[in-house]
Structure formats: structure tokens, C-alpha cells
Symmetry: C2
Subunit: 703 residues, 2 copies
């Protein structure tokens, strides 16, 4: 049968027409804004350069990915990871080039751990001989490493790890052993099928009298697989832990050791040593420098969060600018067109604050990066004083920013209506892959306690030393305690709304910080009983930082220049972000008397007013984030707006399920028409049992 | 190599020990509570009966599902759907039995539409001859139907559909045609690969003068596939739309018509007729009875939401009762055990309100069902007066309840820490499959407008007729307007906290209802500009209904009896649900003066107090929901608590990826070790291009 669909076109006006109208009616120069946001380290040029190379290799085409079984996703990802290494060699890509390639390919590479956690640990913990031995092999990707810390029974609490490394003075070896099932290494990326070496974190046990004494967790470099056969070495069991929420391409693994011996040189010994002749232990120096690295990682996370959220918002704003649904209820003309969905305040209310959040995350990421860099400089002069504050505040920001991004993705997706569920939305990998972020690199409910703990101590110091030279947090607290910090007379309509907004965020942070301090220190309440308040304190303080960093950026206008008109829009975005944050969590503002109930009502009107002012610029603003279509992988969100042709082609030309014709007669045990009952039965058995041998099937009901 | 892992055990105390301690220390009789919650229509006995049958057929084993490609998920699901039909025949299962089987198998069956939307439409819209012709074939599953309403370009707004059915007087046929690409039917369940018939919704066009006149959307029964070859009929293009967020087993489809002729009898003609001789149209009677069906569907959705949320909370509460992490910070004894995670207030704060929400949803589902049944009775007496209120309120409840459940699943998942991402959590299908619910059966931001519209009219009537006999909503408004409705003197610590809580929820609903009424009616603000307020009004009114229905259930204590002790715990749950709802959205309570800022602070303490009181009962309470392990599919949440053995076995024995050994040398183009470069290249090509023929590959870059 001739396929008549080839000649069909979408109803008019179509997406490209709608989007170009949107682009014309905003005076925002999105190229200029893109430079302002993304010029750093040549991001935009690099994005273009790497995209050009990737587009020449069909292995990087993504359209079929959602149809693949998980083992095939790993297969393809490994092939891509290897291809990228070959491109690195061919094009002399540097570290930032590789990171860009991985950002654009947009899946966790099975090689990812080798050049991140594994390499970092080796760089930081190896002594000179160890560095000389290992780093060249790691950098050439001959040694493929992973970082084996977390265990089946232990995640965040490293002290609780069960895997042990017992020093055997006789043979001068460490015996690595998993005494229980829960001691199994678990979740470790690149371990399952890829790595041939691992940094293993194990409890160091040294002889002491008749027994052994534990010195806590230490890092060991361990070869885990044979370099030729790629099989686990004797005494080691390794595997991939199976399918997960997202991250299909990463082989997160498990690993158990049975009295596995490694040489003395396996203990990473820059800071700690065990004397090979006596088995005596040398204490590590204080490793505050590690905190610095954590801060850099968290700045990465915040900057990553802004681009992830920008991706979701780009898709949502472009598509809702094209999608039309229902006429205005007050419209009496029956031939009036349906409204564009983005004109609905219920849609704006969900999407515009998220767009504003991308900018808030941007300026805070920038501020964190700057702080980190200035810290690195003072650290190089052996001055660690600024580290505690930077590290503590970066914990809270990591928690808040990943939560904003993770929740924002889903909010954007729900604004898409039915097509938000389809593979053509581009939201599926975004959602599944990002949802891990509130948990990994420090669970959001755990690390906020570090922030709160720091804030309580800062308040304590501010009380004790009301005028001492100190860090910025303590200084803010000192001003508050002295009564010098005054609330603005009114939040909106005063001399300077923006400054007044920052002020109420600061004062709220002080009020809540002081309350928690009183509960903990003055009233002696237990830490655990205060956890909810501690978590909230961290969130509230971090919200203040986001607002203040954004405000500071508006004041200093540093970085590549913007037109005044664009700065005006960026100011509106600041105000929207701040006011929406107040409306979402108003209690403490009201309770502390910083905002009155009447003012709260006016905030809502102001938000509505701002959203109307922003409406014409929405598409231009998301354009400025310059997310390439290749990365979006979204029929709904592509730059040209050709939504419906793309959705249809993807379904009609690319769906492997459509190649099969089924036998739908329930009386027959045949499934695909014509394959015969026996073939169907064999296939069903294969699908149900996977790789479970008939012998082990009786176990299955226990699983 | 011998596998030494077989002899390893998890560290002590293990999960089974922990869970049995939890069960012992609560005095709640979970069997009794299960009867109270689930005895209706023999749910619990039926669950057991059907589970027994399913467990005898290996085709229903689920453990390998997460490893399967989407086409294989459909393959298996079709085989299961057919098997269930054979079991229906064998065991004489009735409708509720089949629904239970589908609930337990827990995937959308490719046959699902045949006995739901397709059958319902045919029952409601067929005239007598049509019923006689079609219903027997549908009930025997020889005709396999689907419901083809939504289109690529049109979802909620049925009036905007583009597919047309043009009456050809000459041949006495309707010509069904898709004039554009956006007219393609889209999303329709069971259409893609399964159905051989469809109820097609198309614009009815009848000759009028020289042209045609549109009579709006009408339903047609259309054969779409050949009964033998299962190929689409000439002039029809059909396919599956491709992978989605969740629902892998359902073949949501697309369909286009090219001047496809169907006989006069295709128009479903119970209410509307076209005279075959003259082409004249007979107007439909008012179809208010349809609203009744919608209410029943929405009661189903609310009852389903409670079991879905119960499933997430069961997993989360059992696992966090087993998982230990970190010592109490104030604990000075170094050998003190780590705390059970559920003892952290930050975990309780997230999970206990969700547990309370399952009960709130339960009592509201029950109330909706009762209301629906009493409405059916009055409708049978041709009295439609109660329909408008029931329908309008059911819209708001659908929106609120699906949002609570969808967000609650993710909140539960994040409380699980790292293992929450693993396939062993059981949260992956729960999350992906449920996220459609806020959108389908009426997008939550669309249908709340129906509720708000009704509430504004009720307020209008209450103003005009302050003492007329009327429905419950108007009555509440009348009392409020008359000033008879008094706020409680204080929210907590008065004569009856629970009644005071209901009262402030009612008053808030009245205050906000009145504000929106004033804005719309008295100040004449446009509908679209008020959408945010309208949405909020619906949410606020629905929250009141949830609180009031729960309160009423505590007062009447109807249904299977509970001990006083259990009722006490259920009352605590009521209070927790209500107070947490206030704390989450405090603005309007504060703005209306119903709750003072000082009281708000006391609410937080009260919530903390309640959570501590509930802690010992958490596991027993989730046990009462009786979610079978087969349905949970969760190593973390299984009844026996044997978390770590299950997680390990699943990874170690069932992961197909672990059967493959890879070539990780990046210089080689071989991917699986030993398969050779050519085999790798062929496999990569297959993975990247799917079923796209080499000829069409140049199109791909456009996709």
C-alpha cells in the first residue's frame, strides 16, 4: 500500500511560524546573552567544535536509544567511550573537550570513573613512587579504574564500612576481605563490567598484641581483573548490580573479596604509611585540602544543574509557545483561535520561575567557582581559614540546587501535557538520569546538617566575639545580633525593591539561624530531635545565598556585557525568583514579622505582573542557553519548532515494534503472527527467565 | 572458580530481625485494620485467590522485566494478556477478578482498552441493533477495540479535533479522513499493534447547500485491521507511537485515514441519528448521565491512588526501619549502634504524612463511591440535580489526589537513599507508570477549572438565595456569608481539636471561594487572567474535602470495626495529615486570620509530637495495606525484610549483562571480547539505526 502520510502537513500556523514570531517580538539579543552566560573557558566555541566532530560518526546517533534493552545500552556506551578515546588521540582533545563530548553524548560513559574519582584519588593519595607507577597508565586508559567505597550495607557513613584490609607482617601483604554480604562493594561506577583496577576503601587493621587494631578507612589500589581475559582475579567476585533508575549505560558494580592479598605498595601512602618492617602506622596530616576539591565538585554540580534545568525549560517554553489549546473562555467569537498554552497564567506560573532559577543557579555557580579559585590561592599559602565556610555553604547549595533542578524537570514535563510522556519530549533521560543528583555526592538531607552545624558554630562565635574579624556568615550574624541590621520599611515600592528583597532574605536567615542556635546551644536540645529544623535552616540560608549572589551580579554587571534592556529583563527574573521563593515558603518571613500578611497578597500581584512583562521574551531567553538540538533530543523542543513532523517521523519511521505483526487471538499461544506456538514459548521463556539457569529457577520466587 | 559468596550473610541484626521487632512493639492489629480498609467487595480474599492462580504460571514472573527492550515488553505483555483470557475461561473469573489480576500483574495490558473505554463507549452510545451486533463480539474478545479520540495536535479540547467524517449521500457512507498530519489519531491505547476495531471520534460533516456543515465530534465504530492478516485496512495507516515514560507494555498508537468509507451503521446512534435517506441530523438528548460515569472513574482513580501511594510508603517504611546509618551525634559511646533511619525526624517528616495521606485518600475514595452510588439511584429516577456538584468536586479531587500520590512516590523514593535508584527498590515502574496520572483523564490544571467554575456559581447562588434548599457546597457558602460560621477560638488545645481543624479548612475554602467569586463576578476579571487563583481555589476546596471526609469517618466509625487503640492512631494520622497540609500551604490560613503566626509555630511542635507517637506503629500500619510481595517487587520493601540477600541475589544471579565479558581496550573496535571487529560493527549499526532502512537514514538527522 502506498503511504499517503508523506504528503500530509501539520495544521497551520505550524511550529516554525509560531517560534519565529516569538523570536521577532522580543528585543532580547540572545546571542549576546549566550556570550554573557557561556563564554567562560570558550564553552560556546568548544560546543560547536565537538558537535561537528561527533556528528560525523553515526555511532553517536541517539534516536533509537529508548528502544534498547539495558545490556545493549551498555554495549553501545562502551563502544562510544572507546570511540571518544580514539577521537581524543586523533584530534588532540584536552580535558575540557572530552567533558564537552560527554556532556553532548549525554550518557554516563563506562570510562567516566577513570578520569574522575579514580584519577583524583590517585593524584591526591599516592606518594611519589605510586604516582610515577600509576598515573601514566591511567592517563593512557590502559589501567581502567573505579572507586570502590560504598557497600551494600553502607553509603554515606564511611566509618561504618565493613570491608577490611589486614596487614600480614609475615608476607608483608594486606589481606583484603569481605566478612559479610553487606560488606560487598556496591554502586561503584565502572566496576561492574569495565574497570580492571579499583581504589578500594577498606578498614585498615594492624597487628596489636594478640589481635588487630582498626585504624579506620584507607584507600588501596587493587588490580581486580586480568588484563588479558578481563576476568575477575581469583578471590574476587565482581558483577554489575543490574538496571536502575536512569544511568543505563553505567555499569555500577558489586565486588567481594575472599582473603585477597595485595602488596605493601597498594596502600596509597601520601599521607599515611605503614612501616613494612614493623607494621607501625604513621598518622595522616590534616587533609583539609580535600574540602577544597569537594567545593569544586559542588560548583560543578550547581553549574551542571543550571544547564540541566535550562534544557527542561527550553523544551517546555518552546513547545508551549507552539501548542494551542482551548479558546479564551470570555471569547464570544466562535472562530477565534485557540490560545497558545504559554499564555495561560497556570503555565507561566510553573515555567517562568524555573527559567528565573536557571539564572539564579548560574550566578551562584559562578560565585562558588570564584570563591573556590580564591581559596585555592590562599591554600597555596597554607592558609586554610576560608575553607570551613566555603565547604559548609557549598553543601547546603548542593542540596538546594539539585532539588530545584530535579523538581523543576518534572514540573516542566507536566506542563507539556500528554506529549510530555512521549519519547519525543526528550524528557525521559533527563528525568531518570538527573533524579540521582539529590542523593549522590552527599544525600541532600545529610549534607544540609553540615551546613547547619557550621551556621550554629558561626552564631556561637558571633555571640562570643561580636566584633571580631571573621568570615562573611559570622559578620552577617554579628550585625544581626547588634541590632544594626534593619528590616526594610516595606518590601515593594520602596527606594530599592531589589535591595529590600535581599535584606529580608538575610534577616530571615539570621532569625532562623538564631532560633536553631538557641534550641541547640542555649536550650540543649539533642541533635537528632532538631534535624528537621537543621535541614530547614540550611535551605533557608542557601536560598539567601542564591538571592544575594544574583543581586550582586546585577550590581556588578561583570562578565561579557549585556544591553540595558537585557539587564532589565534579568532584573525582572531576579525579582520573580525571589518573590516566588518567598511565596513558596512564606512561614518564616511572616513569623519573623519581616513581611506582613498584606504584603504577601501584594507579592502575588507583583508576580503576575512580572510574568506578563516577561512573556514576550520567554523564547529568546531559553535560546540564550544554546542547548543544541542534538543534546535536547526533543521533537517538542527543537530550535526550529517543527514539532509534529518530528513526532510523526520518529514514530512512523523509527519504531522497531512497528515491524512486528502480532497474533491477537487469545485462544492461540502464538504471539507474533506466523512464528508458531513453539517459537513463542521459547521466546517467552527467554524473556521471563533472562539468564537464570533452569537449575537456579526455584530460587527465583525468593527474589 | 568456586563462588564463595554463597556462604556470606548480611551483618547483624538483619532485616527480618529488625522488622519482627517493629511488629512486636506496636499494639496495632494490622489484620483487623486490613479488613477495615480492604474488606469491601471481598478485595482481600480475591487478592489471595488470584495471586494463587498467577503464581502457578511462570509467564507472570516479573524479575527480568527491567532488563527488557520495549518491543519485548510488549511481546510479553500481549502473551500475558492472552493467558489471562484463557484463565478467565478456565476459572470463570468475573470482572473484579480480571481487574485484580491486572492490578497484580501491574502493567497496562494491550487488551486493556477493549473492556474499558471501548466497551463503555459502545454500551453508552450504541442503539439497540448496534448493541446486539457488537457487544457479544467485544465480550468474547474477538473484536479487540480501542478508543481513538485524541490526535497529534489535540488532546483535552475535543471540539478542536481535525479528523472528519463526511456523509456521502450517494453511497450512503461516511468518509473518514485525516486532512492534516496533526489530525492523526495519537496516544490511543491498544491501537498501535493490538486492536482490530476502534471507536473513532471525528467531526461529523453533513451536506448543506453546496458544501458541508459541521455538527461537532461524533463517535464511529470502525474496523481498522484485517481479521486474518491483522494488517491495517486499505486507506488506513496505523502504528505504535514509540517508547514513553512508563507504560512500556501498552501500544499507544497513531492512525490516519485517507478517504476511508464506513457504512451508515458506523455512527453510534443511541443519542444522535443521521437519516440515511435525507442526510438530516437528529439532535442528541442532554447526556448528563456521562458525568456520572466520570465520577465513578474518578472514584476509581482516588482509590487507585491510595494503593499506589501505600505501595511506595510500604517500601519506604519497611526499608528505613531496617537501614541504619550514623550514630546519634550526641552519643559519646563509640560502640553505640548506628541509628535506624526511620528514627531520623527528617525521614519521619517525609514518610509519615504520606502514610497519613493513604488513609485520607481512602476515606475520600469511599465517600466519592458512596456519593456516586446514591447519585445513580436518583438518576434512575431521572433526577440529575446532584450531578453537577458531584462531578465538579470529583474533578478537583482527581487533580489533588493524583498530585499527592505522584509527588509522594518520588518523596518516598528519595527517602531510600542510594538503593532507591536500584531496580531492587521496586520504585522504578511505580514512578514511571504513575507519573501519567496527573495528566490523563483530565489534565490537573485543566479540570481544576471545572471545579472552580462550579464553586463560583455556587457562591453566586448563595449570595442570591441565602436560604434556599441547595447542595452541600452552597449550604456551606450560605452559612459563611450569613456570618453564622465562626472560626474556632484556638486551633489546638480547645474542646475538640479535630472539629476545629475541619472548621478552619472549611472557612479557608469559603474565604478563598469568596475572593475568587469577587474577582470574577463583582470585579469582572477575565477568566484566563484568574487561572492561577482558580487552580488554587480548587486545590484548597479539595483539601477541605479530604480533611472533612477523614473527620467524618472518624466520627461515624462505619465499616468493619477497629479497636479503640487503632482508632486513636487513625485520629493521630488525621491530625498529622491536616496539620501538615496547613504547614505546606499556610498563606491563606494566615491571610484570613484563621490561624495566627504564633499558632503556626505550635503546629510544628504538634506535628513533631504526633510523629513520635506514631513511630512505633509505622510498620504495622503499612502492613495493613496488604500489598503482596509479588506486587511490590521490591528487595527493600518485602514483607520479611530480607533486604540484602534479595538485592545481592538479584544482581548476582539474574543480571544478563553479567554474562558478557567486554573488550575494554579503546584501541580496539571489538566490543565484546572475542566477538571480532566485524560482529561489533554490525551490532553497533543495529543498535544505532534500529529499523531504519539504509535508504531512509539521511532523514534521520532531521528527526
Amino acid at each position: 500500500m502506498r503511504d499517503f502520510t508523506a504528503s500530509l502537513r501539520p495544521a497551520q500556523p505550524d511550529g516554525p511560524t509560531m517560534l519565529s514570531q516569538e523570536r521577532m517580538r522580543s528585543g532580547i539579543n540572545s546571542e549576546q546573552l549566550a556570550q554573557h552566560l557561556l563564554a567562560k573557558n570558550g564553552f560556546l566555541e568548544r560546543q560547536k567544535k565537538i558537535l561537528d566532530v561527533l556528528s560525523k560518526h553515526s555511532i553517536f546517533i541517539k534516536q533509537n536509544q529508548l528502544n534498547l534493552a539495558r545490556p545493549d545500552r551498555y554495549y553501545l556506551a562502551l563502544a562510544r567511550a572507546k570511540q571518544i578515546r580514539r577521537l581524543v588521540a586523533e584530534h588532540k582533545w584536552d580535558r575540557l573537550d572530552v567533558e564537552m563530548a560527554e556532556y553532548l553524548v549525554d550518557e554516563m560513559s563506562p570510562f567516566a570513573l577513570n578520569s574522575t574519582m579514580f584519577l583524583k584519588s590517585m593524584q591526591q593519595q599516592c606518594n611519589e613512587q605510586q604516582r610515577a607507577c600509576w598515573l601514566p597508565k591511567i592517563n593512557s586508559f590502559d589501567v581502567l579504574g573505579c572507586y570502590a567505597q560504598t557497600e551494600l550495607g553502607h553509603g554515606s557513613n564511611v566509618k561504618g564500612l565493613e570491608c577490611e584490609a589486614r596487614w600480614d607482617q609475615q608476607t608483608k601483604t594486606f589481606v583484603i576481605h569481605s566478612p559479610t554480604l553487606t560488606a560487598s562493594k556496591w554502586w561503584n561506577g565502572s566496576l561492574g563490567r569495565t574497570a580492571n583496577h579499583a581504589v578500594v576503601v577498606a578498614q585498615l587493621l594492624l597487628p596489636s598484641g594478640a589481635g588487630f587494631k582498626s585504624y579506620g578507612p584507607h584507600q588501596f589500589i587493587v588490580q581486580i581483573r586480568d588484563m588479558k581475559t578481563h576476568q575477575p582475579l581469583d578471590g574476587i567476585v565482581i558483577g554489575d548490580i543490574g538496571p536502575k533508575y536512569g544511568y543505563a549505560t553505567m555499569d555500577n558494580g558489586y565486588m567481594l573479596f575472599q582473603h585477597h592479598r595485595v602488596p605493601h605498595s597498594a596502600l596509597l601512602s601520601k599521607y599515611t604509611q605503614v612501616d613494612p618492617n614493623t607494621g607501625t602506622y604513621t598518622k595522616p596530616q590534616v587533609q583539609q585540602v580535600v574540602y577544597g576539591t569537594m567545593t569544586a565538585i559542588r560548583a560543578d554540580i550547581v553549574e551542571h544543574a543550571r544547564l540541566i534545568l535550562a534544557r527542561a525549560v527550553t523544551i517546555a517554553i518552546r513547545y508551549t509557545s507552539i501548542r494551542r489549546q482551548f479558546k479564551d473562555r470570555d471569547e464570544s467569537n466562535p472562530s477565534a483561535p485557540e490560545l497558545v498554552v504559554l499564555d495561560y497564567p497556570t503555565v507561566q506560573m510553573r515555567l517562568f520561575p524555573l527559567l528565573a532559577t536557571t539564572f539564579a543557579l548560574h550566578y551562584t555557580g559562578l560565585a562558588m567557582r570564584t570563591l573556590y579559585e580564591s581559596n585555592q590561592e590562599t591554600i597555596s599559602r597554607n592558609d586554610f581559614s576560608a575553607l570551613a565556610e566555603t565547604h559548609a555553604l557549598s553543601s547546603g547549595l548542593k542540596a538546594l540546587c539539585t532539588m530545584l533542578a530535579a523538581d523543576g524537570i518534572e514540573t516542566s514535563r507536566r506542563a507539556l501535557g500528554g506529549h510530555g510522556f512521549g519519547g519525543g519530549s526528550g524528557m525521559i533521560p533527563l528525568n531518570s538520569d538527573y533524579l540521582s543528583k539529590p542523593t549522590v555526592e552527599g544525600d541532600n538531607y545529610m549534607i544540609t546538617q553540615q551546613t547547619a552545624s557550621y551556621l550554629i558554630k558561626a552564631m556561637e562565635r558571633a555571640k562570643r566575639q561580636p566584633s571580631a574579624q571573621c568570615d562573611a556568615t559570622q559578620q552577617m550574624y554579628q550585625e544581626y545580633l547588634s541590632g544594626r541590621a534593619k528590616a526594610p520599611l516595606k518590601l515593594l515600592g520602596g527606594d530599592d525593591d531589589d535591595a529590600a528583597i535581599v535584606r529580608v532574605f538575610e534577616l530571615r536567615a539570621c532569625v532562623v539561624g538564631h532560633q536553631v542556635y538557641q534550641a541547640k546551644v542555649e536550650n540543649g536540645r539533642g541533635w537528632t530531635s532538631l534535624m528537621v529544623e537543621l535541614h530547614e535552616l540550611s535551605i533557608i540560608h542557601s536560598e539567601m545565598l542564591l538571592v544575594r549572589n544574583y543581586f550582586t551580579a546585577l550590581q556588578t554587571r561583570s562578565g561579557p556585557p549585556l544591553s540595558d534592556k537585557t539587564w532589565d529583563v534579568m532584573r525582572l527574573m531576579f525579582k520573580l525568583f525571589s518573590l516566588k521563593t518567598i511565596l513558596t515558603r512564606p512561614t518564616e518571613f511572616l513569623a519573623s514579622g519581616l513581611i506582613t500578611v498584606d504584603e504577601m497578597a501584594r507579592l502575588k500581584d507583583e508576580v503576575a505582573y512580572i510574568m506578563a512583562k516577561l512573556r514576550p521574551h520567554a523564547v529568546s531567553l531559553v535560546d540564550a542557553w544554546k542547548i543544541p538540538d542534538y543534546l535536547l533530543q526533543s521533537a517538542l523542543g527543537s530550535y526550529d519548532g517543527d514539532v509534529y513532523n518530528r513526532l510523526f517521523k520518529q514514530a512512523h519511521e523509527m519504531n522497531p515494534l512497528n515491524k512486528l505483526t502480532f497474533n491477537t487471538d487469545w485462544r492461540s499461544e502464538e504471539v507474533v503472527l506466523g512464528e508458531g506456538v513453539q517459537a513463542s514459548q521459547r521466546k517467552i521463556e527467554e524473556l521471563v527467565w533472562g539468564n537464570v539457569s533452569p537449575a537456579s529457577r526455584s530460587n527465583l520466587s525468593r527474589l
